[in-house]
C-alpha cells in the first residue's frame, strides 16, 4: 500500500514548555531568634563593715579619720554583660554620720570621702565621693565574672575630728548594656 499523505505518523518531540527542574522537593525551615543586650549582677551586693573609723590613742591625730579602715577595702560582685558595647560606671557615695545630722562645729567632720574603683574584664571605672554622681562609664564589653570593688583615698573634708555616730555610705556599680536604637 502506498504511503498516503493522510497516514499520520506523528512523533512529537518534547517541548520545553514546562520547567526542567521541579524534580526534587525541597523543604526549608528558617529559624530566627535574637538575644537582647543585657547586663546582670548575679551577686549584686555586698557590705563593707569598716568598724571604728577614727584613729585611737591620744596623739594629735586621735579622733581623726583612720584612712586604713577604708583604703584597700575590697569586695567582689559577680555579673555579666552579653554585648560587646556594654559599659560600666561606679558611684562612690560619701560616708555620712547618720546619727549626727546637723552641721558639725568647727574642727569636726561628719563626712568621710573616698575613691571607689570597679574592675571587671580588665576595665576600671572610678569615682570619688567628693563630687556627686557617678564617674565616667568605661567600656567593659562582653564578660561574665568578677566585678571587684576597691576603696582608696579616704579623707574627711577638713581633716578634723570625726563626730561620733554611725556612718553609712555605698558604692554603686552600674553595668549598662549597649543602647540599641529603636528600629
Amino acid at each position: 500500500m502506498k504511503t498516503s499523505i493522510l497516514a499520520v505518523a506523528a512523533v512529537i518531540a518534547a517541548t520545553a514548555a514546562f520547567p526542567a527542574a521541579a524534580q526534587n522537593a525541597t523543604g526549608t525551615v528558617t529559624i530566627n531568634g535574637s538575644v537582647a543586650d543585657r547586663c546582670q549582677f548575679t551577686l549584686p551586693s555586698d557590705v563593707i563593715n569598716a568598724g571604728e573609723l577614727s584613729l585611737q590613742g591620744s596623739g594629735a591625730t586621735a579622733g581623726k579619720l583612720d584612712s586604713s579602715k577604708l583604703d584597700g577595702q575590697t569586695r567582689t560582685l559577680q555579673g555579666w554583660c552579653n554585648g560587646t558595647a556594654a559599659t560600666m560606671s561606679v558611684e562612690a557615695q560619701r560616708l555620712v554620720n547618720t546619727t549626727f545630722t546637723t552641721t558639725p562645729p568647727a574642727g569636726f567632720d561628719r563626712v568621710v570621702n573616698y575613691t571607689a574603683t570597679a574592675a571587671a574584664n580588665s576595665a576600671n571605672a572610678t569615682d570619688t565621693s567628693v563630687t556627686d554622681g557617678a564617674g565616667s562609664a568605661v567600656p567593659v564589653g562582653l564578660f561574665t565574672g568578677d566585678v571587684k570593688v576597691t576603696l582608696s583615698g579616704s579623707s574627711s573634708p577638713t581633716s578634723g575630728l570625726l563626730v561620733a555616730g554611725d556612718y553609712s555610705g555605698q558604692v554603686l556599680v552600674t553595668l549598662t548594656p549597649a543602647v540599641t536604637p529603636a528600629p
Binding site: S4, A7, A10, I12
Partner: protein
Amino acid sequence: MTGRASLTAIVLAIGIALLPQGAAAQTVYAAGQPGVVGGNRQLPVMVTASVGGHCGFATGSAPSGTYTQPDFDVVGLNHDFSFALDCTGPSRVAVVSANGGLLTGGSVPTGYTTLAPYTVALNVVGSTATATGSCAVSTLTATAGAPCTFRGPVSQSQGLLLNSTSVNQPGTYLRVSAPAYSGPSMLVSGSYSDTLTVTVSAAS
C-alpha cells in the same frame, strides 16, 4: 448436391445470460428476408448495468501511526490522526481501546495509579453531513461496563453513524486529547501506551 452438407447458416448464439430468463430462443436471419439487408440485421441490444456499494478506508488513508508525548502528565495530550473514508453509502466508524487509557507496567499501592485517562473524539466528514462523537477512552475497552456509543468492533448497526456518502472528503480525524493530569492518584514514572483499533462498515 455435393457431399457438402446443406448447411444452414450457422448461427452462433452466445448468451451471457446471468439472469433467470435463461436461454433465449434463437432467431435466424437470412438474406432475402424482410428487414434483412445483405444478410445483416442490426439488433438493438439493451445493455444496462449496476455498480455494487462499497465502504472502507480510502486506499492508503486508514488511521495509522504513533503519537508520542513525553511528560504528558504535565503538558497533556493533543493529536489528530487523519483518515479518509471511501464509502458509497452511509457508514459507521467505531473504536476499541486496548488498555482503556495510557497504561504502564507494575502494580501500585493506594494513592498511585498506572493508568492515565484521555478523551477520544471522532470527526467523520461526508459529502452532505459530518458526524462527531467524543468519549472517555475508558469506555472504549472491550469490557467497559457502560460502553461508549461508538465502541467497536463496528457493524452495520454499531458505531458512529455518518448519514452520507464519503468519498474523497477531507477533514476526517480521530483526536486523542487530555489536559495536564490532575489526580487525585499520582501517576507513577515510566513509559505509558495504548492502542486504538478503528473500524469502518457500511451502515444499514
